[in-house]
């Protein structure tokens, strides 16, 4: 069953350049898709479209039956996004940032949600510190908390390990494993096979705007994935 997220025949063109060429796939609730691809493969564009920040040239996306173009507000309520940009205000404290974002989603008790999430990402002792004073790892942890304020059913992660040191990356991996255990559907976009494979239940390869490979994680070992990746990445120029 792949009825939680449906992406159908998605195309995106930027002034004649085709970033996505008919991407189609589906995910079931609780799926954890790791999407690999070289730079320029269209990974961030795909995530941008699913996250509603980029408009598709054509194609259709639905989450739990909510269509992206017909019901954008309902669609957005299902989403959480973590990217290599924190989307956090440096001049505000960690608590203020989370309360602000939680309030935008009209939660009943934004402060309670913010405090709970700060405990989850182990930043509660620093709740009154300004984000501008945080390290890259702390920002990324707070960014995870920000993405979870609306308890999203679909979490999108765009190169979340970018710029993280080993400790911060290990903590993020731990948090992603926890998300997986909570039956959230997750899409992680990365070009790093090691990070991407850790929690995945499905793996995909995007090359030259096409989804050229998609398989359940338990049917793919690292060697096969590497071989597929190299085959398609090297074939990019001909695609």
């Amino acid at each position: 069953m792949s009825d939680f997220l449906t992406v159908k025949n998605l195309f995106k063109e930027y002034e004649g350049y085709r970033a996505l060429r008919g991407v189609t796939f589906g995910l079931a609730k609780g799926d954890f898709l790791s999407l690999f691809g070289p730079n320029g493969a269209g990974k961030s564009t795909l995530l941008g479209i699913i996250s509603t920040l980029v408009s598709p040239t054509s194609g259709q996306i639905e989450i739990k039956g909510f269509d992206l173009t017909e019901e954008p507000e309902q669609f957005k309520k299902q989403l959480g996004v973590i990217s290599h940009h924190s989307l956090l205000y440096d001049h505000m404290t960690a608590l203020e940032n989370l309360v602000f974002y939680a309030s935008l989603y009209k939660l009943k008790d934004p402060e309670k949600t913010a405090v709970e999430l700060l405990r989850v990402v182990e930043l509660y002792p620093r709740r009154h510190s300004r984000v501008g004073q945080f390290s890259r790892g702390m920002r990324q942890r707070l960014s995870v908390a920000r993405a979870l304020v609306n308890d999203p059913s679909l979490l999108l992660l765009d190169e979340p390990y970018s710029g993280l040191d080993q400790d911060a990356a290990a903590m993020l991996t731990e948090q992603l494993a926890e998300l997986k255990s909570k039956e959230r559907t997750v899409i992680v976009v990365t070009h790093n096979l090691d990070h991407g494979l850790n929690s995945a239940t499905k793996v995909g390869i995007l090359a030259a705007g096409r989804l050229v490979f998609m398989e359940a994680r338990n049917r793919v070992d690292r060697a096969l994935l590497e071989a597929e990746y190299l085959r398609h990445v090297q074939g990019d120029g001909e695609a």
Binding site: G48, S51, T52, L53, V54, S55, E73, K76, K77, L79, V81, S83, H85, S86, L87, L88, Y89, D90, H91, M92, F100, Y101, S103, L104, Y105, K106, R146
Partner: protein
Amino acid sequence: MSGFWLILQKDLYAEFRRPESVIGMVFFGFLLLVILNLAIPLGSEISPETGAGILWVTITVSSILGLSRTMSRERENRCMDGLLLSPVSVEALFAAKMAVNVVLVLLAECSIIPLFFILYGDGFFTSLPMLVLVVVLANVGFAAIGTLFSAITAGTSRNEALLPLLFYPLVIPLISITVKVTSMIFQGAAVADYSSWLYVMIAYGCIFTGLGFLLLDHVVGE
């Protein structure tokens, strides 16, 4: 609380915490008023037209400092994406940013206008309610155009240089009407004499506010 109020509250709180925009506008406005005052021979009086011109040149030139800040603040860490990802409508976002600009320019004017009367004579101080009305209408027009163009230029690397180039040509008609109405207020003219200009100012504000609502989604998207 709606998205509009949340964004308005956040931005005003940020300004209250670090009042860069208002202090910048007030300081620049003071400087302009003093420099222009030095050009007037001692003991001579200026006409209401010149007075109105000096006042609005000062306000429009200094207000650009504040207008560019409201959207560029959302640029850091791509916070604009965070707002666009939330279920807040683009209309609420534009209205909140515009309201922030109106409030910030008004705050700066609360210091600039009294200094104008101190430096250029209280003979111009004829009708405070009408002057306040003109100031508010002009601010709405400035804020609508400024918010839209600061959203466009916020995505560029030279936004503070680009914004005046786009902003001033579009506000020139509004400035000229505002100067005309203000000079008539300074002369003590009856409201009926300039009420038609007030309607034009209202229309100007409505048109650019409407344009902002229509275009912001395209401007900040992608």
